[in-house]
């Protein structure tokens, strides 16, 4: 009886995923092996798209930027999120109320945040440059210079997603029994030591999951670069997914090529997460 019941719980979700994800997955794989293009005949061309992809310089540049953005954002959000969670893990009055505010950025639509970013990062009239100028510095060309634009995207993404790490890290920290902290306080009065030997190892599994989720998600970002910088100047802040999006849904409408681009990321993500689940996570279970 029990063995039948357990499938009852799992099946609805599995069936849904199979229906609505397996088909797109297989179809994009098929598309990636063709030269599908809007308004033209589709021909099977095997791995040609993938070969072209490796010699596509633009693709290489956006891939590099996406990698930079991903590593930067994941690192910053993990560090800040964990630190802020540590701050909030103290028994100080008023923290509970402020905690709610800290989670707000996560729930704001990225597209809205991107547009607001246009206002905030505006070079002539935006508050950031206003503050910089009033402190005596030179205003930064957030939108018209390549590296500032990239940092603008990075800052925005970090601002938005640090709360996610914060929530998970805090939940994990609050699950640690108090006795462990008491014992630690007898041995050392250094906060860093306590963190390093008690807190961190116990929240590591949760942090690991979050890091993986962030890694995978950041490589897909589209909303923020689209609205904040439009990928510019030129292509400086164009993410990989953004470029694939332009290839497939804007001229030249090369859906086959865009699908190939997307599939490479899928393979990459599968590899990364496989490594994570079998090597790293196994240690904690």
């Amino acid at each position: 009886m029990k063995s039948r019941a357990k499938y009852f719980f799992l099946m609805p979700g599995v069936i849904w995923v199979l229906v609505f994800t397996l088909f797109p997955l297989l179809y994009s794989l098929y598309l990636s092996l063709t030269n599908a293009r809007l308004g033209r005949e589709t021909e099977f061309i095997g791995f040609q798209n993938y070969i072209n992809l490796f010699s596509d310089q633009k693709a290489g540049e956006v891939a590099l930027f996406s990698a930079w953005l991903t590593i930067g954002s994941v690192t910053l959000t993990m560090v800040f999120g964990t630190f802020i969670a540590w701050l909030f893990n103290h028994d100080i009055p008023g923290l509970k109320a402020l905690r709610a505010i800290l989670t707000m950025p996560l729930f704001a639509a990225p597209i809205a945040v991107g547009y607001m970013g246009v206002v905030i990062f505006n070079e002539q009239h935006g508050p950031i440059n206003n503050i910089i100028a009033s402190l005596g510095g030179t205003p930064v060309s957030w939108i018209t210079a390549p590296w500032p634009a990239r940092f603008a995207v990075l800052i925005t993404d970090t601002w938005q997603w640090t709360p996610f790490v914060f929530i998970v890290a805090l939940a994990a920290m609050q699950g640690i029994p108090d006795e462990l902290f008491e014992a630690a306080r007898l041995d050392t009065s250094s906060a860093w030591s306590t963190f390093r030997h008690i807190t961190y190892p116990l929240i590591a599994p949760a942090l690991g999951t979050v890091a993986l989720l962030r890694l995978v998600e950041t490589f897909k970002i589209l909303d923020v670069p689209l609205t904040l910088t439009g990928g510019g100047p030129g292509q400086a802040s164009q993410t990989y997914s953004f470029y694939a999006y332009l290839q497939g849904l804007r001229s030249p409408f090369q859906q086959g090529y865009a699908s190939a681009m997307a599939y490479l990321v899928v393979i990459l993500c599968i590899i990364i997460s496989s490594i994570y689940f079998w090597r790293v996570r196994a240690r904690f279970e």
């Binding site: 009852f8 709610a100 996560l106 704001a108 597209i111 547009y115 599994p205 942090l207 865009a258 689940f277």
Partner: protein
């Protein structure tokens, strides 16, 4: 806040030590408070700036001032434009957003909770960890890879420009979160409760429905909020699958740039309307979010 305990003779020697510790403790706490304030301000800043800018004329919006009446004259013009003459479009978009988000949340949470209970309490032949990663892997596909097939599929099903199509799409994307959150919560569920209920003659589903679910409220709320917010905020699929009738609000945010360039006040207004519902919801269910999202860490 220095210690105010009166020293006894025996602990006279210990008093200076205690006072020093109390002071160090207070300094540490003060620093933490300061850091918290700074972090909070950074988190809040874009929202506050949007709020003040939405009440500014275009000229004033360039000033970077913050305090109404003292530093600038507030105006309702932007808000009137949004809800007055353009009001119908705004309300329609908000209604669509609500329909889509609620529908997707119901589907994703229902399927995800069921699957989460299964994955958290039972063992499957293929391997529970494999199944969880399989569910999570749905998030690996860059949007472009799913958009095109979805468009084709929905064209066949007649679901283009239909809220149902977007409900399906968003349910599919948020399902992994629901599975992850609920599974992690159920994995720590005390077996004795489950066994006791079974001994009492409850069916497996009865255990789930009557024993596990009521206790799972924190995780359930966290899952619901996350699925709802992500669906409400989703932009890409909406931009491709919704043409006229099913347009949710994020598409209206995207339309805030005019020929003359970005009007700050207008952008701010739309941004605030777009984010209000998910953000307010998140504030209301705050205590559940932290409790529901441990994602596999040590549970005391």
């Amino acid at each position: 806040m220095a210690s105010t305990t009166s020293p006894t003779v025996a602990s006279a020697a210990a008093v200076p030590q205690r006072r020093v510790e109390a002071r160090r403790l207070t300094l540490g706490r003060a620093l933490i408070w300061l850091a918290v304030i700074i972090v909070t301000l950074i988190a809040l800043f874009p929202f506050i700036y949007a709020l003040t800018t939405s009440f500014k004329t275009q000229r004033a919006s360039y000033d970077g001032t913050l305090i109404p009446w003292l530093q600038y004259e507030p105006t309702l013009a932007n808000w009137q434009a949004e809800f007055g003459s353009g009001g119908q479009e705004t309300m329609r978009a908000l209604t669509n957003s609500a329909t889509i988000a609620i529908g997707a949340t119901i589907v994703a949470t229902a399927l995800g909770t069921l699957a989460g209970w299964g994955l958290g309490r039972f063992k499957y032949g293929i391997g529970n960890r494999n199944l969880v990663s399989w569910f999570l892997s749905q998030r690996f596909l860059p949007p472009i890879a799913t958009v095109i097939p979805f468009v084709l599929l929905f064209k066949q099903l007649g679901l283009i420009d239909n809220v149902l199509g977007l409900i399906i799409a968003n349910a599919t994307f948020t399902l992994p979160f629901a599975v992850l959150i609920m599974r992690d919560f159920f994995a720590d569920f005390p077996s004795d409760l489950q066994d006791a209920a079974l001994v009492d003659g409850a069916s497996q589903f009865g255990v789930f429905w009557r024993v596990a679910l009521p206790i799972a409220t924190p995780a359930l709320v966290a899952a619901i909020i996350i699925c709802f917010a992500f669906s409400w905020n989703e932009f890409l699929f909406a931009s491709v699958l919704a043409l006229r009738n099913a347009k949710p609000y994020p598409l209206m945010v995207a339309g805030s740039d005019t020929v003359r360039g970005i009007v700050f006040g207008f952008v701010s207004t739309r941004m605030l309307i777009a984010i209000t519902l998910p953000v307010v919801l998140s504030l209301l269910v705050q205590r559940y979010i932290v409790r529901g999202l441990a994602l596999g860490a040590v549970k005391g």
